[in-house]
């Protein structure tokens, strides 16, 4: 099955909507709870990243009996050095974002920790694509 969700850059009040929808779907599918937890944590981080850094984005979700692929495609500034961004504590967040409890520089490392497979590609000035893959059989 295929689903799409829109993300609005800068609007933190809506951040987490898509993650909640994905969570509900995985509960309906009776996916193992530990896998649901990891999927939702990784997706939520990714969703908040788009809200915090990009102008807009789309989440493409493909789910079947064996796996879920969550692809977040944003239009935004891009990440100049992905390797550096993957390091714990590295952050470019503005003080406004930090005040809201985001931007501690744990986003990407957390996503990597929770996802079975994480792919990031980015083009400076254009945007970033994050792909989270999860397998349902542990």
């Amino acid at each position: 099955m295929h689903f799409e969700y829109q993300i609005e850059g800068g609007n933190f009040t809506r951040a987490g909507f898509a993650s909640s929808e994905i969570k509900k779907m995985l509960k309906q599918l009776n996916v193992d709870l530990a896998i649901i937890k990891r999927t939702v944590v990784a997706t939520y981080e990714a969703e908040v990243n788009v809200v915090a850094h990009a102008y807009s984005g789309t989440i493409y979700v493909d789910v079947d009996e064996k796996k879920i692929i969550i692809k977040l495609v944003d239009e935004g500034p891009g990440i100049p050095d992905i390797e550096q961004a993957m390091k714990e504590g590295y952050s470019t967040a503005s003080s406004r974002v930090r005040e809201m409890g985001f931007g501690a520089g744990m986003g990407l490392p957390n996503m990597k920790k929770n996802a079975d497979d994480l792919k990031i590609s980015s083009e400076v000035g254009k945007g970033t694509t994050v792909e989270i893959r999860m397998r349902f059989s542990s």
């Binding site: 099955m1 969570k23 009776n30 996916v31 944590v41 929770n114």
Partner: protein, 464 residues
């Protein structure tokens, strides 16, 4: 879905139900359907919060209780009363007075439930400090919340604090004390005067515990009416001087069951949330996180916590004010030296024994969102749900007998309902010529009962 996980204290009386669907519309877990003009409860979805009980305009929903006379099967008849019971009465009605009426009714012992908090408080604080969790630890005080987490937020069950509630601590204490006094176990009957349905359900099918020391449950409204009538009629207890164990409670114990009662006593950053919809909103967000600043979460199903229980009689805000006043007065008396500050009640003499037995077993998640045990089947059903949702109008009118379009779609894939129950679908089918007005009427009667349509033959006149 055939396994019944929970005992429910809320019972629907079909003969009284008028099928008005008020209960269905307020149920926070979408556990109610209308069939044949009567409300039906889907047992495994219900968490016994009691919202339906409050919404019912005709008293068709009742809270099952044990027969009062069963207390006489026991030689030692203990009434465990929560501080919320005292808070139902005007201040001039004293604890001694209430207790003496309870003795007159047949109890041989009266004990205040929240004494259990005097043993539990430090154990809970230690539990939180020892774990130093990334996620907030959640109290198991409110049984409706424990069930809500089991069915709706299964990934959060691991954050529940696996310690007994004050009620169970007090019951264990009193039971053990009577045994130590030489009474036989079968002679001891411990009865809890409950402000809500969830506590009854929890006593009848305890979660995380083998069994409960509590013998039975008596509804608070029943006791309140008995006691208040006696008080109003000027009853002066003969037994007043024989009431045992009415030790002054610690101030924090008096307000333990009020909102922020537990949270105020716990270490670190705490949060107290009452009313089940507020709790659901918060837990929905919490499930997305793996780290959170809050260390302890106090969650209660009722607005104003236990003072807002469905079996209470007094206004909940007023009751909370009385609880706080009682706590403040006790604190003042302690400061003035009228009550000894550090003299612990007799429950503390048993703290060693109680602490040894304070832990409860793991609380199992029982997710009720799953469409099927098998992921392949669940997938097929989910596809079907989404297809159906494209047909349904997204107005959640409830005329199909399900509370929401999404619940109708799920009921259809589970084989409990038909798409033709949707009034919008019926209208479209009528227009397409695939359904007659008679067929449409038949379906509506099947859902709402024929009575609702019978006397309405004047509809045409009303229209003019």
């Amino acid at each position: 879905m055939s396994t019944k996980y929970f005992h429910h204290a809320l019972k629907f009386r079909k003969e009284v139900c008028i099928g008005c669907s008020h209960c269905m519309n307020v149920c926070p877990t979408q556990a109610i359907r209308i069939k044949g003009g009567k409300a039906e409860l889907m047992d495994n979805y219900c968490v016994d919060c009691g919202k339906c009980y409050r919404a019912c305009p005709v008293g068709a929903i009742i809270v099952e209780q044990d027969d009062f006379n069963q207390i006489f099967r026991y030689k030692q008849r203990v009434a465990l009363i929560p501080s919320v019971l005292m808070a139902q009465f005007p201040e001039k009605v004293s604890l001694t007075q209430v207790s003496s009426v309870l003795m007159e009714l047949g109890f041989s012992h009266v004990y205040e439930v929240e004494h259990g908090a005097e043993v539990l408080k430090d154990q809970m604080a230690r539990y939180i400090n020892e774990r130093n969790n990334d996620m907030p630890l959640m109290s198991t005080f409110c049984p409706a919340i424990v069930r809500l987490i089991q069915v709706r937020f299964p990934t959060l069950t691991e954050n529940l604090i696996l310690l007994k509630a004050p009620l169970d601590v007090s019951a264990s204490y009193y039971n053990q004390m009577l045994l130590d006094e030489g009474h036989d176990a079968e002679d001891i009957g411990i009865f809890y005067i409950t402000p809500c349905a969830a506590k009854i359900a929890a006593v009848k099918s305890p979660v995380g515990q083998e069994d409960s020391s509590i013998t039975g449950v008596i509804n608070m409204d029943f006791i309140f009416n008995k006691v208040y009538t006696a008080v109003k009629q000027g009853f002066i207890g003969k037994n007043t001087c024989h009431i045992p164990r009415l030790d002054p409670m610690k101030s924090y114990a008096v307000t333990w069951s009020a909102t922020n009662g537990e949270a105020a006593c716990m270490p670190g950053r705490t949060l107290a949330i009452d009313e089940i919809s507020n709790v659901i909103e918060f837990l929905e967000q919490l499930e997305n996180k793996e780290k959170h600043d809050i260390d302890f979460l106090e969650l209660r199903a009722c607005d104003e916590s236990c003072a807002g229980g469905i079996l209470t009689s007094s206004n909940r805000f007023y009751a909370v004010e009385r609880l706080r006043k009682r706590a403040a007065d006790a604190e003042k008396k302690r400061k003035e030296g009228l009550i000894p500050y550090n003299t612990a009640g007799p429950i503390v003499e048993y703290s060693g024994f109680l602490q040894e037995n304070i832990e409860i077993g793991r609380i199992q998640p029982r997710s009720m969102d799953k469409l099927d045990e098998d992921i392949g089947e669940a997938m097929k059903k989910m596809k079907r749900v989404h297809e159906l949702m494209d047909t349904l109008p997204y107005v959640d009118c409830g005329l199909c007998g399900s509370p929401k379009c999404s619940s109708l779609a799920e009921d259809i894939v589970q084989g409990h309902a038909s798409i033709t129950q949707c009034i919008y679908v019926q209208k479209r089918m009528e227009q397409e010529g695939s359904m007659s007005a008679a067929e449409s009427m038949e379906i509506m009667q099947m859902i709402w009962g024929s009575e609702k349509f019978e006397q309405k033959n004047k509809a045409k006149e009303i229209k003019q």
